[in-house]
Every structure is written in C-alpha cells, then in structure tokens.
C-alpha cells in the first residue's frame, strides 16, 4: 500500500476525531507540520485509494432511540446467496450484510444482516417487508435480538507503527 510516514501521522492524528473549529485541516497541519493544502491533498488521496471510506459521524444507536437490534441469519443455497445478499443490502434499513461460512448442522446459516429499530415490533416490520420483497420466506432463517451489550470498544484503528485494533 502506498502510504508514507506523513500519511501515517495524519491517520493517527484524525482517528480520535476531526478538530471542531472553522479550519480543521489547517489545525491538523499545524499539529503535524504540514500546510492546510497538503493535509487536504493527502486526505483526498487516502479517500481515493479507499483507506478512508468517508469522513463523517459515528452515531450511538441507543442515544437516537434505536433500542432494538436484530441479527438475521439465513441458509441460502450457495448458488443464490450472492444475488440475495445484493438484494438485501439495497434496503435502507439494512445496516450490514455479510456472507459467512456455515458452521455444521446446528448452524447452517451463510447470510447475515443487521436491522436496527426503535423497538422489536419495528424491526420485525422491516424484516417482514424485506422477506416479502426478496422472497426469502422459504429459506431457513432465524432472528437473534440483542438482549444486552457487554462491550463496545471505541474505534481505534491506527497507530504510527500500523497496529490495528478495532472492528
């Protein structure tokens, strides 16, 4: 990957958050010894190569009133899973959609998605809508609501020695 020492310093400096001041990139430049323009050009490039998916906010579900979260798992035939996964991911209320390996007979599921909602009823409503649209009712599936969150570590991805920490 084409990331130099300055990029690493920059990634490390912004991982805890952007400065909340009128010229945040100039402020970052001051911290690192780069000009505002250099910071902007480097961030643009890091976005272009995909290392930074986007700039923006990470929201706490619970503080927005999203109290229910369900992991939904399906057992979809291998030749269909790609297509169904793509369809499911089109829905605005689907937060994540992954294909994962099956784990033996008691856990045959290979497609996972997450749906958040203000309560269980609203999650189930979204789920039913999704199933109708994607015609997945005939596949074995389960809904696993979360009952408690034990641990949700803050996202720390990057140190200057390229150590990685979170998911």
């Amino acid at each position: 990957m084409i990331v130099d020492g300055w990029d690493q310093k920059l990634l490390e400096a912004i991982q805890q958050g952007l400065p909340i001041s009128p010229r945040p990139y100039a402020r970052l430049g001051d911290l690192l010894g780069l000009s505002e323009n250099e910071v902007i050009e480097r961030l643009d490039r890091l976005k272009q190569i995909g290392l930074i998916k986007r700039m923006g906010v990470i929201v706490k579900h619970r503080s927005l009133g999203y109290l229910a979260n369900a992991m939904i798992v399906w057992d979809i035939p291998d030749h269909q899973v790609q297509e169904v996964g793509r369809q499911i991911s089109e829905f605005e209320f689907v937060n994540l959609c992954y294909r994962r390996p099956r784990s033996g007979q008691d856990w045959p599921y290979n497609l996972y998605c997450m749906i958040h909602g203000k309560n269980r009823e609203s999650v189930l409503k979204k789920f039913n809508f999704l199933e109708q649209c994607c015609q997945t009712q005939s596949f074995p599936r389960e809904i696993l609501f979360s009952v408690r969150c034990f641990k949700q570590r803050g996202a720390i991805y990057y140190h200057s020695d390229q150590e990685l920490a979170d998911g």
Binding site: I40, G56, E142
Partner: protein, 147 residues
Amino acid sequence: MDDIDRHIINSLQEGFPVCDRPYQGVAFKLGLTESELIDRIQILLDNGTLTRFGPLYNAELMGGAFTLAAVSAPQDQFERIAGIINAFPEVAHNYARDHRLNMWFVIATETPAQIQHTLMAIEQQTGLAVYNMPKINEYFVGLKLEA
C-alpha cells in the same frame, strides 16, 4: 436534541467535505451559520449522542484481521463466561442474544494468526466450543440511522 440536531446528524452521516472551510459549506446547506454548526456538533459529542466525528477507515486495508464468533454459555455460568471473554483485549464487541448461541462477539487483531490464537485461548479458558464465522463477502458498508 431538536430538529436542527437531527438534520445535522443525518447530513453528517452521509459524509463531510475535505476542503478549507468544511463547516461553512455544511452549515450553508442546513441553513445555519458556521459557528452554530460547530457549537451544536461539539454539544452532540459532549453529551454522547455522537461517538465520534472523523474518518471511517477501511479496516481490512489498514491491515487487520477480524472475525465474528459465538458461544453457547450455560445460563448459570453466563456472567462468568462474559467476564472471561470481555477480558480479552482482542474482543471489540460482545452482545448477548436470545438464542441457544447466546453470546456473540467480534475479535479484531493485527494478523489472521492472532485470530486463531485468540479463538483457541477463549475455548481453553471457557471450556466452550467457539463458533468462528469470518466474513466471506460484504454486501453493504454504510450505516445510516434516521435521527
């Protein structure tokens, strides 16, 4: 939180510009002044509505390894098992879910080998079989919650 805050959150979840006066541009679209926007973002961060304001990294490109894992913890040992699993610094998230497989956690390490090592250590310390479900394919990466 009022309607203006909701607009701010919804707008910032879609991205934030990289230019010399990014707050000014966003504020203009929302019908706010730059300093109003800055003050509100600061309050939303301070009161915990927003966890973070900054870059969303592509974790795999950053060189790390991840997996989703689960165990079936007996009810009478649930707290003890949760304590063991949460004590691993490699465990980033851990959720109790209403299913036979009742504890679901994400392991994040620097290398794939460390994932295997952590899974084995959790099996040893809990005495439970750990289901390992690494991602094969991702169909969606966004996360947008209507505020």
